[in-house]
Symmetry: C3
Subunit: 138 residues, 3 copies
């Protein structure tokens, strides 16, 4: 069994931001030399997400507004977590969006559908945070 | 390491529909000959879901109404994504339900709890769409 | 390829309860002798969850209140599933929180970020229920 571990680092300019990381995952996969297996990609922080959806700016605005409706950032005092913190909402937003994706590796490629793109979803940014990539297979 | 890749195709009669795909996954697993490992099953489209829950019609109606409450289909104009599209809601519904499941394979069987059934969740149907099954192990 | 399968059993005192199971997973990993691979941990019941977030009591109260807002337990009659059942809400709460986590195994350790802790989320407790741990690798 082959395996590869890699960290991807991000420091977003905005509190909330979505970044397409599909090219980084393809690069990691090429480095691994793995042809058949599974790729796990997960946020290593609990206020961020890795998820798969469409790379379409209108949808990304819809997601932003929808998450603000389901778990509003403000007032910060609405969350008990926000004692010396202000990111209670980010823990909940990331729960909706999910921590991780598992992607099949087939013939040395990410086995994604035609519109599937992998995103890093930052909900408490403007500081350095990490994503883990782990690939196993042969 | 053994591996199997398979696509399952669906064309639902309704825009939104839930289909129990557990028997298809069991069949794929038998074909693979894998006794111990992991099975990944994911929607290859970003307006559909693969998830695990109960095969109980009342619950399925509850899920339909609940998702309509959290991410209503109409008016289509409520989503910025809906410029030449009408499926903004489906992207959000699938986000709630999840893209994928990973199921343990033990002694050549799907290692599911007594009520666990795997479903394809279609939220923008009436056209051909695919699910990916990838099994790795030995 | 090495593999380990283990069940963790729980019987919570309350209907809804969050339990940090990270130490149990570390123990299972040590037992497996696996150094590089993937660990799957999933609820075997469809009214419970395994998820990753912060071990912070304020956040756990926020999650409880937030889930009650998104999928209230009562009145039980609000769910069609609740014919001879009263746990319709638990099926939906677990959907939000997720069924499973996949964690990378690196150098014989769970490859978690600094604040990542794995939780069992019980939404219909006070009876015996199980979590599955499956580890594959080498």
């Amino acid at each position: 069994m082959k395996h590869l571990r890699k960290e991807l680092w991000f420091e977003t300019k905005k509190r909330r931001q979505l970044i397409n990381i599909t090219p980084e995952l393809e690069k990691s996969l090429r480095e691994s030399g793995i042809k058949e297996g599974l790729l796990l990609c997960n946020a290593m922080h609990i206020t961020a997400s890795v998820f798969i959806n469409d790379d379409e700016p209108g949808l990304h605005q819809d997601i932003e507004e929808w998450l603000e409706g389901l778990a509003p950032e403000k007032p910060h005092s609405r969350y008990r977590h926000n004692v010396g913190e202000d990111n209670g909402d980010a823990h909940l937003k990331r729960t909706i969006m999910g921590r991780e994706v598992v992607v099949a590796v087939t013939n040395g490629k990410l086995d994604l559908g035609p519109w599937e793109q992998v995103f890093y979803g930052e909900f408490d940014g403007m500081r350095k945070k990490r994503v883990l990539v782990k690939i196993i297979g042969e």
